[in-house]
């Protein structure tokens, strides 16, 4: 590989389940910039069954668009770069063929099994099921389930080190009785990782050693107070490369081409978000809403969490959003009336023809209404998963108890969130940036002062894997080309009677212009403020409202602009919409008009 300091041209691909995306990053003067992008259908499935064909097609398109010759006559990637030819570094991520699919097991669902789930999710896996002794299933039901699943790998945790019980061995016996088989390839043994009680390793080896390809790593819950996920995550990654990737069509060849290990796409997205949050010392949440699934990543201080809502998405899973959210919750975001029968049929038609796009404004409004619910539900799942370790005694104050959901404190505290990053078709490709901003605010409900941004062309996966080999290039491109800053949302926490004062502010815009206003409960206000521009704002919340320092405590901050600008949201937290239909539609239309979400022709007030 070319020495880091000499790298001028970087080629990166992301092999998604439907599309393979290639980007070119070049050193322009002293900085790295993303310059071109190409894509082609992924070729993992029949009739092609070779992922490298899709990679070559995407790279060919990239070469045509950039005018740079990237492949030689034999179809090999030219390295190193010379003049107008080749690249110095080639890297790739992959979620093709369904990504990495795992089953995890532990003794107690909310303790060791949850830690195992966290390790698997953090490694970029889809968790197909979590087996635990208290999962309310009978043993034979668990066995049936394990048989049906055919995962790529199994992670087993259970018990703290030195525990003198037999529970983790019981779980192991259940898995052995099911005799699980791998998803891909019939001629190799299923990889199983044991990350449980050290003193049970011999028994676990006796039970599973002959039936599976067993590997043993440090206990991921050595004590109740500790969670050590890294050894398990690293072993998952190694096994992913050694076993799973080798079985997927064409991957053995792709692994020879790359200059750094292939990463599962979600692991790469998590890696870049974590790096950026760490470098800027901020708390960040990233979301990627796809056709089938919604991934959410959060970095709060030292805590990184990822969740995958496997059946919340905008095409294949759109019908499931309706099933889980309920019709009324989708309809509450609609400023126009649609009959239930019609709405149901529309959702199903999108499900069976997932590649269609909204042609009319009404269809767009409807799709974005569904997206709000998909995002809201996925975020609820994320917040309830990203918690402190359960089973550990903690001292709580009265203030803490207001933060808790069902008695368990989420690490994702909305008031502490600094940056919210959106990606995925419905968010990234919304015709107006105001639509992306409003979908984020309505579903994530940020509190206090939060910057909103979107991934311009979904290059976070590429940058995530790049961050492992060339951190500087990854960070530079992330800030300059990847993120499109939408602006800043200012939302006080609290509620009041409609029409009561909620927030007084004085805004000093660049150039000396000043705005003063008192916003009432239920009101929104938008001020354009260009990308890169800053404004000083003096905020004076009413007695029952809090922007971070406490109820009624004033605050003075500098805020950043973006393609949308500043959005003041005084609709309250928790956010509740008027229950009376006509009043609700009236309120929606007022907010839409104020923020400029849809054109007045599309949604007349």
């Amino acid at each position: 590989m070319t020495p880091l300091e000499d790298i001028r041209v970087i080629l990166a691909t992301d092999c998604g389940s439907t599309t393979t995306k290639a980007i070119l990053i070049q050193k322009m003067g002293d900085e790295y910039r993303q310059t071109h992008r190409g894509e082609a259908p992924t070729t993992v499935e029949a009739p092609f069954e070779d992922v490298t064909l899709g990679v070559l097609n995407a790279v060919t398109e990239l070469a045509e668009l950039s005018g740079r010759k990237l492949l030689d006559d034999a179809g090999r990637i030219i390295r190193p770069a010379r003049g107008e030819e080749g690249c110095d570094l080639y890297i790739s991520t992959s979620s093709a063929g369904g990504g990495l699919q795992m089953m995890v097991a532990g003794v107690v669902r909310s303790m060791t099994a949850e830690s195992a789930e966290r390790a698997a999710l953090g490694a970029g896996s889809i968790v197909m099921d979590v087996i635990a002794l208290n999962d309310r299933r009978l043993t034979h039901q668990r066995i049936e389930r394990i048989r049906q699943l055919r995962p790529d790998m199994i992670l087993i945790a259970g018990e703290v080190d030195g525990a003198r019980t037999d529970k983790v061995v019981k779980i192991t016996e259940t898995i052995a009785a099911a005799d699980p088989k791998p998803r891909l390839g019939a001629d190799y043994r299923l990889p199983v990782i044991y990350a449980g009680n050290r003193s049970r390793r011999d028994e676990v080896t006796r039970v599973l050693g002959g039936k599976t390809s067993l590997s043993i790593v440090d206990n991921l819950r050595p004590t109740l107070e500790e969670e050590v996920l890294l050894p398990a995550r690293e072993r998952i990654h190694d096994l992913f490369l050694e076993h799973v990737m080798q079985q997927a069509p064409g991957y053995a060849r792709l692994m020879e081409w790359v200059d750094a290990d292939i990463m599962p796409t979600p692991a790469a997205v998590g890696a870049i978000l974590k790096r950026v949050a760490d470098e800027a010392r901020i708390n960040a949440v990233g979301v990627d809403i796809g056709g089938a699934t919604t991934d959410i990543f959060s970095v709060f201080g030292e805590d990184f969490n990822r969740t995958v809502s496997a059946n919340l998405g905008m095409s294949y899973s759109i019908s499931n959003v309706l099933a889980e959210a309920g019709l009324a919750n989708v309809m509450r975001w609609m400023p126009i009336a649609i009959e239930e029968r019609d709405l149901r049929n529309r959702i199903k038609n999108k499900m069976i023809r997932p590649t269609t796009i909204p042609q009319t404004a009404e269809e767009l409004v409807f799709e974005q209404a569904v997206a709000r619910e998909a995002l809201r539900l996925a975020f609820i799942q994320h917040r309830s998963f990203a918690t402190r370790l359960k089973g550990v005694q903690q001292q709580r104050t009265i203030a803490d108890s207001f933060e808790q959901d069902a008695g368990i404190e989420s690490l994702v505290k909305m008031m502490d969130l600094d940056l919210l990053v959106a990606s995925g078709g419905v968010l990234s490709h919304a015709p107006r940036p105001e639509q992306t901003a409003m979908m984020l605010i309505d579903s994530f409900r940020p509190e206090g002062i939060t910057r909103l941004a979107k991934d311009s062309i979904f290059m976070m996966p590429h940058l995530g894997v790049l961050s492992q080999v060339h951190a500087r290039a990854a960070t530079e491109v992330f800030e300059k080309d990847c993120l499109i800053v939408l602006g800043t949302c200012i939302a006080p926490r609290g509620t009041a009677r409609p029409g009561r004062p909620a927030l007084a502010y004085r805004l000093e815009l660049p150039g000396g212009e000043e705005r003063r206003e008192t916003l009432r409960f239920g009101q929104m206000r938008r001020h354009p403020l260009q990308r890169g521009a800053e404004a000083r704002v003096y905020l004076d919340p009413a007695r029952d409202f809090d922007l971070g320092p406490g109820k009624g405590v004033p605050l003075e901050v500098t805020v950043q602009g973006g393609t949308v600008g500043l959005i003041f949201d005084c609709r309250g937290r928790p956010l509740s919409l008027p229950s009376e239909p006509a009043e609700r539609v009236g309120a929606l239309k007022t907010w839409i008009e104020e923020v400029g979400v849809y054109s007045p022709e599309a949604i007349p007030h």
């Binding site: 061995v169 019981k170 294949y316 019908s319 149901r344 038609n349 009319t360 269809e363």
Partner: protein, 376 residues
């Protein structure tokens, strides 16, 4: 991307059809290469490993886990009957005894001195695979099954529920626009595959089940009715395992949508002939569409039913698959290369389509049309 539009569903008069009929796990293939097969003829069979149950013998007998192997009356590999004593322990100088019994009939798979558990495995469950279509065995896949070849009419639907079945085709609607109501169905249709027009109502489907009709094929179906039939909202489109007593195949989509005239004509032409149908649908990676297959005897097939790779050209017949012209058929008028602004505000590549009954061609995103493939 070059192919931004949906490739469309296959509707062809006479195709060479191949269906792979294999077991989920290795087993025995019971027909030979070249054999003529009927839809319900078994081509391969095997046994699924039996149900597993775990008996906590240590708990049941109140003994230490490590004492369980010594207390076993049966050893690993032994056959046991349900209720049979498998372990016994005596205490208090042999005055008291405790026993553990088998919870199912089968064999002892393992005995653990660590957990005190005994794993019992029940008798293997037989499973069989039939030929599904009338035809000839083209290839035997050793230990797995066969590839059956036939030639005939293939109609792919967009969505279905219920599994494989067969029956004679009975077209009951007079046109592709007509709604299939419950009053169109009568007792003489028992065992048939009934074809309607633009919509099958929930009441008609209910009556079809009552009358023992094997399958229903129609242009559309309402999601509200689907929900009622399944008893829940269908979240993800993976179907085929429903046990409703009828297989439903929807050719166009949800709501009332005229069946494509060609599809209707083809089905009508084969009135009275036996069809093999399957409602199984999967709309994620590895797409599976529901299908109607009508084997034709003695006619030379025109081609193999590989997925269509034809591009969209001026004059191609297309169906618009999203509002505002959802369900309409038309012909491609032009294919502008530059992206156009849509009413939604997005920019996308579009296709201009002559729609029946409209005076001007309409502009539609290319992603929102599908080519109606195949020849008449």
């Amino acid at each position: 991307m070059a192919h931004a539009y949906t490739p469309g569903l296959k509707v062809t008069e006479n195709e060479l059809l191949r269906r792979r009929r294999v077991l989920p796990i290795p087993g025995e293939v019971v027909v030979e290469e070249g054999a003529k097969v009927q839809p319900h003829q078994v081509v391969a069979r095997t046994f699924l490993p039996g149900k597993v149950e775990i008996v906590n013998v240590a708990n049941k007998m109140g003994v230490d886990q490590s004492d369980v192997p010594g207390a076993m009356l049966k050893k690993e590999g032994d056959r046991v009957a349900q209720g049979e004593v498998i372990a016994e322990a005596k205490s208090l100088f042999g005055l008291l005894s405790s026993r553990a019994t088998a919870t199912l009939a089968g064999t002892i798979e393992s005995v653990s001195g660590v957990t005190g558990q005994v794993v019992l495995r029940g008798p293997p469950q037989p499973i069989e695979v039939d030929a599904y279509i009338e035809g000839q065995v083209l290839e035997v896949v050793p230990d797995q099954g066969v590839v059956v070849e036939s030639s005939g009419t293939l109609i792919q639907g967009i969505f279905g529920i219920g599994g494989e079945t067969t029956g004679e085709i009975a077209v009951v609607s007079s046109s592709p626009r007509e709604v299939l109501n419950d009053d169109s169905l009568s007792a003489d249709l028992r065992g048939r595959v009934v074809v309607g027009g633009s919509l099958v109502t929930g009441a008609a489907l209910e009556k079809a089940i009552e009358l023992g009709i094997r399958g229903v094929v129609a242009g559309g179906f309402d999601d509200q009715d689907l929900r009622r039939f399944l008893g829940h909202d269908l979240g993800v489109a993976i179907t085929g395992h429903e046990n409703l007593g009828v297989t439903l195949i929807v050719t166009e989509g949800f709501g009332r949508i005229d069946m494509a005239p060609r599809t209707f004509r083809l089905l009508k032409r084969h009135q009275g002939q036996r069809a093999s149908i399957n409602g199984a649908t999967q709309i994620r990676a590895g797409v599976i569409r529901p299908e109607v297959i009508i084997p034709l005897q003695g006619t030379a097939p025109q081609s193999l039913d590989r997925p269509g790779e034809h591009g969209m050209d001026v004059g191609s017949t297309v169906r618009i698959i999203r509002n505002p012209w959802f369900g309409k058929l038309g012909r491609v008028a032009s294919l502008p290369s530059e992206p156009a602004r849509l009413d939604s505000g997005s920019r996308a590549r579009v296709v201009s389509v002559w729609v029946e009954g409209l005076e001007e061609p309409v502009s539609v995103p290319r992603a929102n049309v599908e080519i109606i493939e195949g020849r008449d």
